[in-house]
Symmetry: C2
């Protein structure tokens, strides 16, 4: 049931809906590798279980686990969560899963980007990544959705959309020579238009400081509604995040979305700054095949890295000094949804957060309005 | 979504519907092991692809393939067939998959028997079998059906039902000391009543001659309708199958089903007798972990080993001298269905046939009539 289609979503009048539109469910992957997750990945598995359980309050959740971890994942996760066997190289479903697209008739398909572990042999984070690259197709098989294989190295966490024709990306990631070195900015914009069904790409500059994905947008900024963007913010001029957030703010103020609107900005305070501890670093078993995780590394913690579920927001709890401020911003930004916080430092230690480990599956069946060009 | 339930299907008013009742779809597994399938399993893969394609004319088909074979299976199978990653030790979905049960409200659950590769270390066919034993649970996860873990070594091919309270089994298999040595015939009958929701077990004696499963019923006899049984038949007194079929006939004539009916018998001629050739045997790479496949082995070919799909019968073509006779019997037995023949000698060489490699998923949603006790 996974036909691989040869045209593009835009040519077929499909587009990526916003995360705040209705979902059929959510996919995650089980963290397993001991060279990225401390203590045999058990603390990360517990944190991911809490995230998955929180999301399952709002919508159906499926977790993919490798054959060797299947039984353990099944036992640790609540019965209401579906567990399926799925090989992977790590658990970043946002980046290795499909980016779903829909059409006006309520049909759903998936875009399967080429995945190279955030930079391949030129700054990528582990080797090999062949199992990861097959995840999107395997998800689409189980969902029985047709597949577009996009001729572009990209990750789901590198793009956000408003569902009305606008994409939000960073230059640091999308223009990085370790992704698509032979494509110009214009060529990449065209590819995004074809595969996300957007007509306007808003370019921010750098991503969150020390974000090892080369600056994914989903750490820095996201749409909370059409015309409204949440942005990681920092008021300390001596912090390297300060200039990054200021630059993003200027670009957002100057931008117009696909419908010509200006953008309102919600500033979410940066937690910390947060650093890995010696105790945390000791639990990671270094290997030749993954980057090291030394102590005292600045962690790219960000409250922007939350998940929007049906009727809920599942957000990371990272720092008691800022958690409540961020939660209150999100409550105001999403008045119809219940904001649930989950402690996710263990996920952050591995290089990401709640948005990075999730991938929403848009609902099918209802009519949708196609974005105008 | 795979709750493991602690009661039994019968206690919850669930029962196994007959194969000729409506299906939601069909599952198969991809043949891979070179110590059971000749020529790297490619001929078996081609035969299974033909079987899956034939079934897909009638109902949705899913094929499970190991991680290392996923891409090859995906490329060989038609796009309309869903392929999912699923570890297994061989491809006998009938025996390792769940036995589905339904209730009067149209709900569906699955029975996950203990699997020991048809006899464990006492006559079983390969070692290990841990991946096989996990298949039923993995199918139930993807189908999002609740699971009963039956405390009984059993295989789906060892039981047939009429969906109206009657089970059909063989003593050779169900009473074999390599399955449940500490259970009496009465205890096994009780277990079948609890897990299949039947009230009458009809015992035949031996299975088809040289059937390596220890005489599965699905090689010897099956219900084609309530009160009607198809039986493998042999008219040659010097053939070891002769006495087996005669004994089965006598037992079937004496039997009454759960509703007190006598049984009509449709005799399907035995093909051949068929033997493996030297060329076929040469292609199998012997290993310590699977039984050998020598040349000149009598093959347990049987036309009873067909699959009933929605509106169709997919039957094995095994011998040009008998194929048409068997097909005509099946056309008369299933007047509303299209009979499709598929050449499956390559499946037979590995130890089974179309029924052995398939597992139907009953349809949900409609009301069903619970068998009376």
């Amino acid at each position: 049931m996974s036909r691989t289609l040869t045209r593009t979503p835009a040519a077929d009048r499909f587009w990526m809906p916003a995360e705040f539109e209705p979902h059929a469910g959510c996919w995650l992957l089980w963290p397993e590798r001991p060279d990225n997750w401390r203590d045999g990945a058990l603390p990360a598995q517990r944190a991911l279980t809490k995230v998955a359980t929180a999301i399952a309050r709002f919508e159906p959740v499926t977790v993919g686990a490798s054959a060797s971890h299947f039984q353990f994942a099944r036992r640790q996760l609540p019965a209401a969560i579906r567990v399926v066997e799925m090989s992977h190289d790590d658990c970043w479903m946002r980046d290795v899963g499909p980016t779903f697209v829909v059409n006006a008739g309520g049909e759903r398909r998936g875009v399967d980007w080429i995945f190279n572990a955030w930079g391949g042999l030129n700054g990528g984070l582990y080797f090999p990544w062949a199992a990861d690259d097959a995840v999107a197709q395997k998800v689409l098989e189980i969902e029985a959705d047709a597949r577009y294989r996009a001729p572009l190295v990209n990750e789901g966490g590198a793009v956000h959309v408003d569902g009305q024709g606008t994409a939000l990306v960073t230059e640091q990631c999308l223009l990085n020579p370790n992704r698509n070195p032979n494509m110009s900015r214009a060529a990449i914009e065209t590819a995004l238009e074809h595969y996300l069904g957007v007509s306007r790409v808003i370019w921010l500059g750098a991503g969150v400081f020390n974000d090892e994905t080369d600056g994914h947008i989903d750490e820095l900024a996201c749409f909370v509604a059409p015309g409204v963007v949440a942005l990681t913010w920092c008021d300390n001029r001596r912090d390297p995040q300060y200039a990054i957030s200021r630059d993003a703010e200027v670009r957002l103020r100057d931008a117009r979305d696909a419908r010509g609107r200006t953008l309102a900005i919600i500033k979410l305070p940066q937690p910390g700054p947060l650093y890995s501890t010696a105790a945390e670093a000791r639990g990671v078993l270094a290997s030749e095949y993954a980057q090291p995780r030394p102590a005292r590394t600045r962690l790219a913690g960000s409250y922007v890295n939350f998940y929007i579920a049906n009727g809920g927001i599942v957000m990371p709890l990272l720092d008691p000094r800022t958690d409540r401020i961020a939660a209150n911003h999100l409550k105001r930004a999403f008045p119809g949804r219940k904001v649930v916080g989950v402690p996710t430092r263990e996920i952050l230690l591995g290089g990401g957060n709640i948005h990075c480990i999730t991938q929403q599956v848009p609902a099918t069946g209802g009519k949708r309005e196609q974005p105008k060009k």
